[in-house]
């Protein structure tokens, strides 16, 4: 049986405009010797990297090399997949997010995630956009909520398209 090469994440750093201040600043996200397993399959091998605050970082690589798996370790979205295991450390603001007693909901509130595929909830368009604001009780009044929803839809260049059917299902 031919041994197929399993694609792996490897960390290479190349910063375009590396500033001196950026280097001295403590990393916002710091990953140490991270291994991740789906059952017996190891998906991530000894990942260590630092991400500074306000830094944009991109992961590129072939399909199945663990890009999404790695991203999902940063807000513990992998917790919801049964039979997975993680070891190593992920520090965000110097707190180990895998330490016992971590509030996972609070973590996900702070570490946002945009998925590859959009997945509208079975609610109205308005309620979909308002979902994050509502569950985190960010807005204080319903008028503020609708302002924020309108702002979000305008920023996404969708407002004129959907403004007359905000109350209809987002799925149709």
């Amino acid at each position: 049986m031919a041994q197929t090469a399993i694609p792996r994440i490897e960390v290479r750093e190349r910063r375009a405009n590396e500033g001196a201040d950026q280097k001295s600043a403590p990393p916002k996200v710091s990953v140490h010797d991270l291994n991740f397993f789906y059952g017996k399959n190891q998906a991530l091998h000894n990942i260590s990297l630092n991400i500074a605050e306000r830094m944009v970082m991109a992961f590129i690589g072939p399909s199945g090399c663990g890009k999404s798996t790695f991203l999902r370790t940063l807000n513990r979205m992998n917790d919801v997949i049964p039979a997975t295991r993680v070891d190593g450390k992920v520090l965000i603001d110097n707190n180990d997010i895998y330490a016992p007693g971590t509030d996972v909901v609070e973590l996900r509130r702070r570490v946002g995630m945009v998925f590859q595929k959009s997945n509208p909830f079975p609610k109205s368009i308005f309620d979909n956009v308002a979902y994050g604001l509502r569950i985190n009780r960010i807005t204080k009044s319903s008028s503020e909520l609708s302002d924020r929803v309108q702002q979000a839809l305008e920023d996404a260049a969708l407002w004129t398209e959907v403004k007359d059917r905000l109350k209809t299902s987002a799925l149709s």
Partner: protein
Amino acid sequence: MMAVARVDQMRKSISAVMTTGTAVCTFAAVGILLVILSHIALKGVGSLNFRFLVDAPKPVGEGGGIGNAVLGSVVLLGLSSAIGLPLGIAVGIYLSEVGHGRLAGGVRFIVDTLTGIPSIVTGVFVYAIVVLPTKHFSAFAGGVALALIMVPIVSRTTEEMLKLVPHSLREGALALGAPQWRVVLGVVVPAAASGIATGAILAVARVSGETAPLLFTAFGSRFFSTDLNQPIASLTVQIYNYAISPYDEWHAQAWAATLVLMTLILGINIVVRILTRRRF
């Protein structure tokens, strides 16, 4: 060439035999159903009129109707739905969304086993835990018995429907910082709502035909009653009592009551069809 032609001919004749066979079986199955339905309709329609549907039973020879049984069945179905549906849906949510590992596996096994318990056993069980302590038959006991039959049906359909909800939907909500209860109640359950409703209505249709568990619990009654603490009539028990009676008039009424019950169940199934069709 010859060999190929023979193989082809063989294949075609087997295909013809099989097609005929399946067609005959289909007609046999559907035909039996049609015979049952038409027989009930023919036998039942003679005694069916408005007074029959609203009157209370009367002594033999004086007519009377099944109004109390229709009312009783509605009360029993309402009560059992009020107990059984929330319980069953909650168990289904637990099995699909909350429970993992051995405890959930155990619960699932118990639910499956419950589905297979003969309904008369459920009736005897409720007799032991409700009727004996309270020392009398009651509509409440009947409702509990029917609810116990509904729970496993509703919980398994609920579980199946929730499992059809794409995982990405849960993750999308979780990634926004939603706690699990909000994900389940606000996103996952609404996404499966029409399927859950279908399962619930099918469970109601299923128990509306149950007789055995009611014999030991709701018992039956010849009077109009909505008192949950008293015995109550139901269509199925009324049919049973009339069918085993020695009177031709009551036999005719049993046929008519059967027609009413069949129409009721048919109606419920049609509602289910309409609900499921709306999904797409």
